[in-house]
Every structure is written in structure tokens, then in C-alpha cells.
Amino acid sequence: MITLGEVQETNKMIREMNLDVRTITMGISLMDCAHSDLTVFNRNIYDKITRLGENLVKTGEDLERQFGIPIVNKRVSVTPISIAAGGLKTDSYVSVAETLDKAAKEIGVNFLGGFSALVHKGFTESDLKLIRSIPEALAVTERVCSSVNIGTSRSGINMDAVKLMGSIVKRTAELTSDRDSAGCSKLVIFCNAVEDNPFMAGAFHGVGEPECVINVGVSGPGVVKRALEEVKHKDFESLCETIKRTAFKVTRVGQLVAQETSKRLGVPFGIVDLSLAPTPEIGDSIAEIFQAMGLEEAGAPGTTAALAILNDNVKKGGVMASSNVGGLSGAFIPVSEDHGMIEAVQKGALTLEKLEAMTCVCSVGLDMIAIPGDTSEATVSGIIADEAAIGMINNKTTAVRIIPVIGKGVGDIAEFGGLLGYAPVMPVNGFSCASFIDRGGRIPAPIHSFKN
């Protein structure tokens, strides 16, 4: 039988250490909505999303009350629109994004992901239409998130897409310059994108996924940090054991919520994503975990090793706790969403180059980083290419979500609001990569992709 001590431990995690389920994300296939007429297509996707997602938010809220644990976000991901909308006779997909936004508002989810294209080996006509629609789509909608996959370990990197995305990021920044270029906070450029990621802004419902599915993202940086404070002067084995044990407990909660949601909605359970996702709240920070491990600030020498330990042991602890682990599963290191990372940048401890090194061992990439608004398109492309190369060679997902804040320079603060937080504008290496990016074409698949 459950003991008073165990009950207290769980409730202390919830009350004092910000333990929560970060997101329940419903993946919805839009394949059967295809049509050549824009009005019919929009009606089809609106009807399908609002029909399947109708009870998502209410179910999440009921489970919150039943288990006494906050479920912070309820979200929807859909089939990449460049695929679902491929048959449309239209030049722009902006009205599709507006329909998705309307559907998200109708069912009460705070983000909807899948205004996406997968172009790692080349563009279809539809991919190009989608990508060219991104800046306006993100400017006129509130809840729609967009992502573009420009490379994989299997097929190399589409450098034409890297070049194009440099200008799309800049254009998106310009069209939302009245909001500190916040449009870019809803745009992720991936290498090795995963099909079942429940976290925004990079979520989409992959083509290998079922009709409808429930994926859950857990969190709990605060719980890991508090546990590590208990083993302050112990060796690395104790450090790793503590992270594993904590990750196990956190993931079990995610698994429970995922199974219950799936049962109540009559939708199959997909995966639990084990990522440690910080928020701007004090005590909910990855940077604070580094400090508990013994680093003065995030970015100090040793940070990459600390992150590697964290990421690996979160996975080791989590895999046994869930029947199906997937998504990105690791530690996120978004700058603007983590007050400890923000402080580290302001103190000069954390630079863009160190963040790039950290992305070699974390689960995603350069995330929510504000850079000067006058950064050139080619430089943005260069940053994307570097990050994609890390992903391609190391067989891992990497991503870039950077915000060139129009009208702001190094040291200024960009405000994105809510969960997206705020970020100090970071300096970018000013030497040019324009001639490199201008070459065009593809970087061929790396040697270790030939496994057949």
C-alpha cells in the first residue's frame, strides 16, 4: 500500500519543484482531406481537426483534476501541409494556415504544428509554395507553427533549402517586426526531424503515423535539480544514478497521463517524449541543473559534458518507465525559455559558439536565440548549415529556431511573451559565408548512411 512518505514525495514534486506534464499533443492525419479546390480543402481540414480534437482540452483538464498534476499544454499536430495540400490549385497556402489557426482557436489548443515541408532531398512544387507562404502565414496567424526539414543522415543536406530558409527566416522577422520578430519563434528548421514529436514549434504528424494518435511530453527540470542538490559532493556515478531515478519517476507520470488520455478519447497512444523542457519560471531551468552539478554558470567549461550526462541519463531512466518512448527525448536548451540561460548570456558566460557545441549532445539544437536584426540572410543560412551538419554526421535531430530581431542589436532584450519568454540579443560572428551558401545544390549523404 502507498505510504505517507511516497504521497508526500510526489506532491512535493508537484507543489515545489514544478513537476508537470508539459503537453498532450494529438496528432491528426489530414491525408483524406485532399482536394483541388481551396475552399473545400479548408473546410475538410477544419471539420476534421475540430471533430477529432473537440474533447482534447476538456479531457486534459479532467485528468489534471483526477491526478492532481498540472497538464500545461494541449496541442495538435497535423500532416505536413505541403503533402496534405499538394493537390490544391493555388499559389499560396496562407489561407490554409488561417484555417488551421481558426480550428486551433475553436478547440482551445494554444499551438497547432504542421505548417511544414520535408525537403531534405529536394523540393516538390507544393513544398516551394508552402515555404514561400511561411512568412505571411506566421504573421497573420497566432497559434500555427511551422517547420522545414532540410537534411537527414540518410540523404544529406539540401543546401538550396538552407539558402532559401535564410531568406524566409529574415522575411518572417520583418513581417512580425512590431512584435520583436516573434514570428520566427514559431519556425523550426530541422535536420533529421522526427515524426512523433509532441513539442512545439517543431511538431508535425508524420506520414508513417496512424489516423489519429496521442503523444505526451513530460518535463521536470526542477525535480532533477532538487534531486541533484541532495548529492552535491558525491561522484559522477551517484550523479548519474540520481538523474536516472528522477527521470524514471517523472516519465511514469507521463505514461499514466498518456494512457488515460488515449483511453478516454478512444485514440491510440503513440509515445512519451522524455525531454526536460524548461520554462521561464524560477526553479524550472536547465541552467540551474548545471549549477547543481557544480558549474558556476551555464556555458562554463564543462557545460557540454554536464549536458551529455544529463541527456544520456534522462533517457536511461525514462526508457524503462514507458512502453513507448519517442519524439525528441533529451534535454532542451532554449535560451529565451530558461531564466538561468538568459542570465548566463547576460553575464557573458554563454555564447552562440558554446551553444552550438552543446547541441552536439543535447536533444535538439539552437533554440529560441535572439540575434541582431541586421544579420544577413547568408549568415542565417550558415548557422542553419552548421547545425544541420552536426545532426547529419552524428545521426541525431538538430534544429535551428533563431530570431533576428528587427531594429535591435547586441545587448537589447527581445520580448516574445508567455511560455516563449524573453531573450538578450546575442552577437553573431560577422565574417561572411555568402560565397559558400551561394554554391547551391546538395551535400551528398555521409559515408555512414550506407548501411544496407
Partner: protein, 89 residues
Amino acid sequence: MKGIITVLGKDKVGIIARVCTYLAGQNVNILDITQTIVQGYFNMMMIVDISAPAKSFEEVVEELQQIGVELGVEIKLQHEDIFNTMHRI
């Protein structure tokens, strides 16, 4: 279905009486009670059978919370599965 009720706060007369009276009215059976008082702080856990409550689980959660506000303590009712999954393999 079993639920876990926890009460946390400064000790005073009548906390258990008030909670138990409410539970009886809701057809909720108490299976086990554990409590400690450390430095005047009251810490109680009840395991209850909530298979056929008069109102829905969610309503009982909210009404218990409200009783807690009136008594100046924190009262939570949670489905036991959250503790079982976290602490038992």
C-alpha cells in the same frame, strides 16, 4: 476506484471530523488513515474507496479543496494511480 486524500496545514480542532462528515455524505468509504503532527503542522493521508460517489470525482476534488480553504488547510484528492505508477514497478 481508490483515491488518496491529503490534508496539510496548521493543526486545529475538527479537521478530520469535517472531512469525514463530508465523505460520508458523498458515499465515500475510508479505508485507512495515517497522520503525523510535526511542530504544530498537521499532515494526514486517507485512502478512500470512491467507486460510487454521490457526485463526480472532479466535483468531490473541488468541494474538498473548498473545505480546505474554509479550514485554512490544503486538502487534495488524487486518484491513487499517480502514486502507484510513480513508486511501484
